[in-house]
Symmetry: C2
């Protein structure tokens, strides 16, 4: 199988190097920007890839919506397998690319777009083909997990944890997409589409870790709990729920044993029960490994991750109900339906009555709009 690679950044170069050692794989040309083709295996003219009948598969590692999307169209039109690590592009154009791949009989796979090196989407697709998947969830952003872990196991402040993640290359100079939960949300969109055949496009909820403080860490720790940023999706009556928020787990939960920048994915099937997958969520070779496994699967005959007739729909977060742990000012706390107050004073810590994620996120937005600080995290009761 001859494989061309679009882009030669961290992931692209990792894929190229792995291809050199993978039996039965041939590392084809690597597309780079004009003037950057400094090695004999590099080309700057895309026609040399899409027009080459000996290229069986194209791996896209350019990032961004375009030209990643148009490259996907060209690869699939030319009858080549198309493998990508680009979550934003798959969320935006995946349904169209999947339909085209189906028409052409080629593979369109994107394991590396969700969970990095964790073999999540591939297994989820295989289970969704044979079982009814009820829920998906996971720690899908390595940057925020690194920060949460540093704050909780090493008592770093939020600012120090962020600085450390940046100095190690885990967080960008502008960390917004990670710490706001947006990156994890994009990934759970893809998982919902694979699991349920519904790609949520609007109405998703996103609470990141920006309001989590060292004082929250200490209080949560004293209660035997561990905070993780969890992306969740679940079947609802007419659509799916899809949201990201901090969740508190007992120390013995699998989620609590996910350290540093690792990722974890969990899915629950009617027949298979709860399946948990853990591994490195990012990095050159873990991500490249996921791409290589997709290539091997495509070579065997795997073609699609989205089920046939996969559609897009608005998310519905009214059925996802939890109690929430909250920390806010005394007057703001009175605006929440509290079940029990843990600590009173200028700062209130409390547990709310069970309510939907939709309601909690809306209340938080209102409370913050009025100038109050608020941290909230769902309480996970179902563990094993």
């Amino acid at each position: 199988m001859k494989v061309a690679v679009l882009g030669y950044g961290t992931v692209g170069a990792g894929v190229y190097r792995m291809l050199l050692n993978a039996p039965g794989m041939e590392a084809g040309p690597v597309l780079v920007r004009p003037g950057k083709a400094v090695e004999s295996f590099m080309v700057s003219d895309a026609a040399l890839i899409f027009g080459d009948p000996t290229v069986d598969a194209v791996v896209e590692t350019l990032g961004g919506l375009d030209p990643a999307y148009s490259c996907g169209l060209r690869a699939l039109e030319a009858g080549k397998h198309f493998i990508t690590a680009n979550k934003a592009m798959v969320a935006a154009h995946g349904l169209e690319l999947a339909a085209l791949a189906r028409e052409k009989g080629t593979a369109f796979l994107f394991s590396a777009a969700c969970g990095g090196g964790v073999p999540f989407l591939h297994n989820l697709a295989l289970s969704a083909e044979t079982d009814r998947i009820e829920a998906v969830s996971g720690i899908l952003n390595g940057t925020t997990n690194y920060m949460l872990d540093a704050m909780q196991r090493r008592a770093l402040s939020y600012a120090d944890a962020l600085r450390e993640a940046q100095s190690l290359g885990y967080a960008e100079a502008d960390p917004t997409a990670d710490v706001s939960g947006l990156d994890a949300l994009r990934k759970i969109q893809l998982a919902c589409a694979v699991a349920f055949g519904i790609l949520p496009h609007d109405g998703m909820l996103c609470e990141g870790i920006e309001h989590f403080t060292a004082a929250d860490t200490a209080d949560i720790r004293s209660r035997g709990l561990v905070c993780r940023l969890i992306a969740s999706g679940r079947r609802t009556e007419n659509a799916v729920s899809a949201y990201v928020e901090p969740v508190l787990f007992p120390r013995a939960a699998a989620e609590s044993s996910v350290f540093v920048n690792n990722n974890m994915a969990r899915y629950m099937g009617r027949r298979c029960g709860s399946i948990v997958l853990m591994g490195q969520g990012a990095g050159r070779f873990p991500t490249a490994s996921a791409v290589l496994r997709d290539l091997a699967a495509a070579r065997q005959g795997a073609r699609a991750m989205f089920p046939e007739n996969c559609r897009s729909a608005e998310a519905d977060n009214r059925e996802a109900v939890h109690s929430y742990y909250i920390r806010t000012g005394g007057s703001a706390a009175r605006r929440l339906p509290l079940r029990s107050v843990l600590a009173q004073g200028d700062v209130v810590r409390a547990v709310t009555e069970p309510m939907s994620a939709g309601k909690m996120h809306a209340l938080a937005q209102n409370i913050r709009r009025d100038g109050n600080d608020l941290f909230f995290a769902a309480l996970e009761e179902e563990i094993c």
Copy 2:
């Protein structure tokens, strides 16, 4: 895809029921013993399955070496995919069946034989195709994990834990194959073959949980450790190591968060890093789910779990080096190379110098042969 099922016990009936609901799958005839064909979908004449050209795949859930093995030969000879949950049969005859399947271009897959509902071997095979796997390990026996968990989290005695596992149907009336570690050893044999292309056939080591007591539980707990029964395999210079023994983990390790009768598998690849998979290790539908995923993979085009040229070789356990936690009588303890003594008296608890699994298991055998009681467990230092 029309699928025939051999046997209608717990797993066979589960597979049949899942086939009825799986899109694109047709539940073919189910083979039962003569006189037992009480339903219209049951047959007692194997020729009605192997001679039926409309049957695409055969699922074997008979157990035992024969006629499971001869059924595998007949299915593959007839050009049908052969899926089995039978670890002992695959360990004994898998290389021959794999070669035959390769010759015939049909699938020979056995995910359910190792890890129950955990998607272990399928992922391991995909990673082994594209990466260099260095090590495999796991909690692969649900019965002993249930017992260890009951002893450690609920302070049951060994006898009570065993009785409870038996009353819940997790342990057989004769629990030897589980508690001795033999069941887990058979499973790691298969994982070694998938990961390294070497099926260890002799020289494996097997220490079960029979020597673990309530007093050991208490001491280990006080040190912040959790005991699990771990099956391990690793590349060595000329072959592979393959052994089963109790291992002590820090409470925060992923292994420590595997409760009741769940299973967990871990593999370490040069490029993908450490990948952990957890789920239900046994039971009708989790096991049937693994069979259905294999069928879906075969339908897509997956053919083999053992790599080409997979061979059989004697295991070599001289390179697998750990320090061990030991508990034994005072005079017996002097026969072990101790690094530090934790508790002295009639009963000694101590940590040994690092030594190979081969040496530790041999010392234990000698010490016990002389009438001494001894519990030992490897100390796991590499966690995340």
